[in-house]
């Protein structure tokens, strides 16, 4: 890990060089349908991107796990079924200006993608991607990255983290991939740039820390032991079960695999994003559904993220980006709910000794 200075001019030159070399560059772009909002989109020129303005509406996971993708093509012939798999190597891409919460999510999901089977498509794209994240200064009341062990300046999953300072950026060069990317564009960082960056990072951390206290190590165990706690009956009354939360989440990774015919004798096998918030997710062929109501489905969302995944992989399946709360048409508020559950799990001294 080294710290370097990247001037605004060199940054623009770097992006121009990447685009000229036909590397796909993905960055925050102002949304056409709503100029106050941003999306991660491939850019054609440096000026298409706007950094540090607002957290993009969706996470960057679609560039690693698209909402739908073809796994193989099949064709029925007289001799049998011909199968043609899709290539698992991905063309090079650079994600620019991602938030540390989005980037950390990729590393969290790596655990399950490489667990009992190595997901070649996921890791193909992971390897082909260089990630330049930005210090986040875009937090609102729904952000809680510091509660899940991250921070607005977290290095996790990034190859480079840029912190805006006078005249450009302080570049935290985290990996060799990041070093290769910045080669020739960065110079020695002076003391002023280092001090500026440190102040900005401290300020950003302080801006989010008070939203939710750190989730205690005992919390996953409490959730597991409280599967039948009556709290689940009332916690999700306002949840519509629409699954918009899963669509925008940087760590929700469940998918469904389907075969779709494209002609009488040929078709494709695809995988599509899925969400545990819909009743179809657990509907058995018999017609029985073990998760009968939204209470059970929302409990699953919380249990998977804050108990099941941590017990299996040692990681909370949430980066505190707050998108689920922001996108929820029913006004569900995850940091608030987590706060309530944490209070139930660990009542204050007054509640314990009334």
């Amino acid at each position: 890990m080294t710290r370097r200075f990247l001037s605004h001019e060199k940054f623009a030159a770097l992006v121009a060089a990447l685009l000229a070399s036909n590397t796909r560059v993905i960055a925050p772009v102002r949304a056409k349908d709503d100029p106050a909002q941003f999306d991660y989109l491939p850019i054609q020129k440096f000026r298409d991107a706007e950094f540090g303005a607002r957290l993009p509406r969706r996470s960057a996971k679609e560039y690693f796990l698209p909402a739908t993708e073809v796994l193989l093509h099949y064709k029925q012939t007289k001799a049998g079924v011909e199968i043609r798999e899709v290539p698992t190597e991905a063309p090079p891409q650079v994600i620019l200006g991602a938030t540390p919460c989005d980037v950390a999510g990729l590393e969290v999901v790596d655990k399950v993608m490489g667990w009992d089977y190595c997901d070649e498509l996921w890791f193909g794209r992971r390897q082909a991607t260089t990630i330049v994240s930005f210090l986040c200064n875009m937090m609102d009341a729904t952000c809680f990255c510091t509660a899940v062990g991250l921070a607005p300046d977290s290095f996790r999953g990034s190859d480079v983290l840029l912190v805006p300072v006078a005249g450009g950026y302080l570049a935290h060069v985290i990996t060799s991939k990041g070093e290769a990317l910045l080669q020739g564009y960065v110079v020695e960082a002076d003391a002023a740039a280092l001090a500026d960056a440190e102040a900005a990072q401290n300020e950003a951390r302080q801006a989010v820390e008070h939203h939710l206290p750190a989730i205690p190590a005992e919390f996953p165990g409490w959730l597991a032991a409280n599967f039948d706690n009556p709290v689940w009956k009332t916690i999700a009354l306002r949840c519509h079960g629409c699954g918009a939360c899963a669509a925008v989440c940087p760590t929700c990774h469940c998918f469904d695999i389907v075969d779709e015919h494209e002609s009488v004798d040929s078709g494709v096998r695809r995988r599509n994003w899925d969400s545990c918030q819909t009743s179809l997710f657990t509907l058995h062929a018999s017609g029985h559904n073990p998760r009968q109501s939204q209470s059970e489905r929302f409990r699953q969302r919380i249990q998977h993220k804050f108990s099941i995944y941590p017990s299996r992989f040692g990681e909370i399946l949430c980066t505190g980006c707050g998108r689920c709360s922001r996108s929820c048409p029913g006004g569900m508020d995850l940091p608030k709910l987590l706060g309530e559950l944490m209070t139930l799990a660990n009542p204050g001294p007054e509640a314990r000794n009334p």
Binding site: L237, H240, C242, A244, T278, S325, P329
Partner: protein, 290 residues
Amino acid sequence: MSELNDLARKLLSECTVKVVIGYEEGSRGVRPAFITDPEQACKLVFDTRCVQNLAAYLNPRRKQITQLGKPAIVVKGCDARAVAGLIREQQITREGVVIIAMRCGGVLQRSETASELTSDTVSVRCAGCNDRDPKLFDHKLGELPPEPPVNPHRDEQIATLEKMTSAERWNFWTGELSRCIRCHACREACPMCFCVQCTADKTQPRWIDPSSTPPANRAWQTMRVLHQAGRCVDCLECERACPEHIPLGLLARHVANTMQRRFDYVASEDPSVAAPFGVFRPSDDEEFIR
């Protein structure tokens, strides 16, 4: 607002209802509230931020809510159209719900941005609203506020779309629907999408492919909007829920306009008036059957 809080408290403490479904302060504007304790009735609020249509929570298949017992629901006139729809289509009974209707002076586009109602901030669905003074209610509260400014944005967009050639319109919708990820959030948030099994979820036979591809996305959204013909109450919950921000309300409004023109029908607050799909009239135009 004490009128609403007092009524909710009374309904709960006298056990007329077990839950009052209304609005409370949330971290991002107001959010749906489920008040079961008379002491909590003071939490209820009603103002221009109450954009949500709460009628979806009356769906009898929302077991986590039906288990609470008989509900009272806070509605605006537009939301009352959805409650009427649920009664008309025999999902709930009129006696099974206490309707607290609020006289309405329009709502914002978004609950989280509290501001004055202007032609930019007011919801497009408030333009030309005839239900500001609700007609379906057990209790009607508040004074009728003045008419809100008109947000012409959607009508302008529909006019533009209707002027397009069919090829241009096809391109417009193919572009918008290419973003659809087939999460079906639009369906889940819709008060009038209450089918036990949606056609899109059927696998034997599979009517619509579940993957996000242009033909399947078109098939899904076309099916949904046609299934809503004469039923959609124009609450825009579909558009609010869509994580891809597809202007689904444009499609729905276009179909509603067609229903009005062809069948002289507007989804109303009167549950006794059958929707066009529910009646046979020899006078209906059938020029499309040749």
